[in-house]
């Protein structure tokens, strides 16, 4: 059967006769890699552009249309030592990039206006106490208005829009007082300028926007980077399926190019990327990613298979019922929707602060105006003082207090292998006091490992590993990996459903079912010890060995559990797997609370119970069956090997084999929340000092500008302390 790789789904036309593709590349770290890749790809004839983006770890390639096959670039990169796969921008990432650019443009405009208005304000401030003519002052004020008004109208858009959205939904957010403050400050300054008054606040208003835009941009940039990394990881998983393009002709196509009704071939050792029904063939399938159950299920004609299932023994033909993004069980979708709705009711720290803040500030301004009128001042002076109160209290530092910490903390988390999916996850994670672990794929590694390698002579084990290289069976793959075998045995023959055999130095060696190797008698010894393991036998002449293969615990699982206990965090296991398997894991890790054979609905019910006891639950899980509970929990984490749906639902994703990022993330988020609170107190403290000055009516634009930049810089510097997140588990 002929198999070809078809990447045409990812190729797009870029101008006349030029085709373009974006590749995500793994392992690009430095300038050396960049130059190596660009030179290596440019050397291919007809390539017109090869440019590495070191920030996003991607390569943009363009070539003359019709001359090259994109698969060639991937092969070339492989020769150079890099794993690459075509990358398709998801709409979510495209939106983040556009938003990030818009904010940067607003920031540019606001910064330009701030600098120029300040250039005009400083002469006015110093002129007011010396010999500046009133006409000159007015001229400078008018010029300031000319710059500040259009700049504020443009650069203020993000705040005005968000404030409008909040008001239309009959709520308030931080942008409401910001918008009111900026608009009133500008409006009052225009009126004052018309009346040839001494003070105008154009500089304060536009400076406020600049500082706030810095905070917004940092926040947005963090989200954009996370999306880019997550997008690359998704691309590098290279989810493809062998689609029948003719009777007996198969093409390896990306999952995105598969549609319901297509027929795909699922070979032994492959993970299914689509939902569908078996129409031909018999095999065993591993559904552990979907149900958490580690025992294999027998699949034949009519058996439904779901994305994420691993095919173990025979080839299957599957008719696709739903492809890529639509692949999920109706029950899980329903639970998930309910759970997600519940979570969106969580109120972020910033929103809680602004809900308290806005009424207090606006009431203070109103009281100031009325107070001055009652005290005998004119309406004009009273209103000017009231607006000055609003300007002084405008939540500049408050607007920066949270995004700056979030940006720096997410950077620190990223270095310890954790990606943030949602911005407010840090706050929620910091509050977590009870952790629920899924077992399969979370506490255990997603791939199989040989458990009794130490009992087998090293040379025999290596030989078994070399023989295993010739088999597609996942258990054999685990043996090959565990023995670190590199060179396959050339004469090896695979007997479907039985095993592999070869003749080395005149001795026949076999690897496969115990019956295939004549080692049935040895099996019971191993299975008694470890009922969960898959058993594979190896025979060399008359010597027989039994290898026990299973998902091992993550290398540092024990240390992580101990570290969590030391932090006074409750731990339990909720698994869809059978009881003996769960007991074994719980026992090995010293976890006293566990539940086995749990359905997705049971998991949610358990979380609800804990919630009612006032606990904040962190759910760590990877399976599709965990997705609803990930959404239901206060905060959730998934390993990068998790099912699509779980990964999309989880608040945080951790990379690599160790479990340590779970503890690192909790530590970093606790520190970050502490700093956020501290920042809010700093901002409030500043207001407590400044407001009496504003109420007394002695505030000048100079004082407003100095106070605003002073408090903002203080908050930003304090946020930098979130950087040193500890990496080791203490």
């Amino acid at each position: 059967m002929h198999v070809s790789r078809d990447f045409s789904h990812y190729v797009r036309t870029a101008g006349e006769g030029v085709q373009h593709i974006d590749l995500a590349v793994e392992g690009v770290h430095c300038a050396g890699c960049m130059a190596k890749i660009e030179r290596g790809l440019s050397a291919i004839p007809d390539v017109t552009l090869a440019r590495v983006n070191l920030t996003d770890r991607r390569v943009a390639l363009e070539w003359k249309a019709g001359t090259l096959d994109p698969a060639r670039f991937i092969d070339r990169l492989e020769e150079l030592g890099y794993k690459a796969y075509p990358y398709e921008t998801e709409s979510a990432e495209a939106t983040e990039v556009a938003e990030s650019r818009f904010l940067l443009r607003c920031l540019g405009v606001a910064a330009f206006a701030t600098m120029n208005v300040m250039m005009l304000s400083i002469p006015v401030w110093s002129g007011n106490v010396s010999d500046m003519l009133p006409e000159q002052r007015d001229f400078f004020h008018w010029l300031s208005a000319l710059i500040a008004l259009p700049a504020a109208a443009y650069a203020g858009q993000p705040f005005f829009r968000s404030a409008w959205r909040a008001l239309s939904a009959k709520t308030t957010n931080m942008d409401v007082p910001i918008s009111i403050g900026v608009t009133l400050a500008l409006g009052m300054s225009v009126v004052e300028t018309i009346n040839h008054a001494e003070h105008a606040y154009f500089d304060a208003a536009i400076m406020l926007l600049t500082f706030l835009l810095v905070g917004r941009f940092l926040d947005q940039n963090m989200r954009r980077r996370t999306r880019a990394v997550a997008g690359n990881l998704a691309a590098l998983k290279a989810e493809t399926a062998a689609k029948f393009v003719g009777p007996g002709e198969i093409s390896q196509v990306p999952v995105a190019a598969i549609y319901p009704g297509d027929i795909v071939l699922l070979r032994p050792g492959e993970r299914c990327a689509v939902d569908g029904t078996v129409i031909e063939g018999r095999s065993e399938i591993d559904q552990s990613l979907i149900t958490g159950e580690t025992l294999y299920v027998t699949a034949g004609q009519g058996t439904p298979v779901y994305a994420g299932s691993m095919n173990i023994s025979g080839s299957l033909r599957v008719r696709v019922s739903a492809a890529s993004e639509a692949t999920l069980l109706a029950e899980i979708t329903r639970l998930l929707d309910n759970a997600l709705q519940a979570r969106s009711r969580y109120m972020r720290l910033a929103d809680r602060a602004s809900r308290l803040y806005a009424p207090v500030v606006h009431a203070t301004a109103l009281v100031t105006i009325l107070g001055w009128v009652i005290a005998g001042a004119g309406w004009h002076d009273a209103i000017v003082t009231g607006v000055a109160v609003l300007i002084i209290t405008c939540p500049c530092a408050l607007g920066l207090a949270i995004p700056t910490v979030q940006t720096i903390a997410s950077g620190a988390m990223f270095r310890s292998g954790v990606l943030l999916n949602s911005g407010d996850a840090i706050e929620r994670l910091a509050e977590a006091d009870h952790v629920i672990f899924d077992k399969t794929g979370t506490l255990t590694l997603p791939d199989l490992d040989v458990m009794n390698a130490a009992d087998i002579p090293a040379d025999v084990f290596e030989l078994a590993g070399r023989l295993a290289l010739s088999s597609h069976h996942p258990v054999a793959a685990a043996v090959a990996q565990a023995s670190d075998a590199r060179s396959p045995i050339v004469s090896a023959v695979e007997e479907a459903g039985q095993g592999v055999r070869a003749v080395v130095d005149g001795i026949e060696i076999r690897l496969g079912r115990p019956s295939f190797c004549g080692a049935e008698t040895l099996v019971s010894d191993v299975t008694n010890l470890d009922p969960e393991a898959s058993v594979v036998a190896f025979s060399k002449g008359s010597e027989k060995f039994i290898l026990s293969v299973r998902q091992g615990l993550r290398p540092d699982a024990q240390a992580v559990i101990a570290a969590l206990k030391a932090r006074n965090i409750g731990i339990e296991i909720l698994s869809g797997d059978r009881e003996p398997a769960v007991i074994a894991a719980a026992h090995a890790l010293g976890i006293s609370e566990w539940r086995a054979g749990v359905t997705p609905a049971d998991k949610i019910a358990r979380i609800e119970v804990l919630k009612q006891r006032g606990m904040k639950v962190l759910m760590v899980g990877d399976g599709m069956n965990d997705a609803p509970s990930l959404a239901a929990a206060h905060v959730s984490m998934s390993p990068i090997s998790a099912a699509h749906l779980s990964q999309a639902t989880a608040d945080l994703i951790f990379l690599g084999r160790p479990l340590a990022p779970v503890v690192a993330a909790i530590d970093a988020s606790r520190k970050a929340l502490h700093l956020m609170r501290q920042n809010l107190w700093l901002a409030i403290g500043y207001n407590v000092l400044a407001v009496p000055v504003a109420i007394s009516g002695v505030v000048t634009p100079l004082i407003a500008a100095a106070a605003m930049s002073g408090s903002s810089i203080l908050v930003m510097v304090n946020s930098l302390r979130a950087r040193g997140a500890s990496r080791e588990i203490a």
């Binding site: 920030t55 120029n116 000159q136």
Partner: protein, 55 residues
């Protein structure tokens, strides 16, 4: 003080020129890869026989 008539517009023009340059650099994608750009500045020139990869 008549000098203000020249100096103030001049200062504004310079500021606007800076803003225009920033917007242009943003549009031409110079902020898309800040990490890479830092290294490109000190990378060796490519050998002349190869076509330079330029946008």
């Amino acid at each position: 003080m008549e000098i203000l008539v020249i100096l103030v517009p001049l200062a504004l023009m310079l500021g606007l020129a800076g803003l225009a340059a920033f917007l242009w650099s943003l549009r031409s994608g110079q902020y898309d890869d800040l990490d890479g750009a830092a290294w490109r500045a000190i990378a060796d020139d490519e050998p002349p026989q190869e076509a330079p990869a330029k946008r």
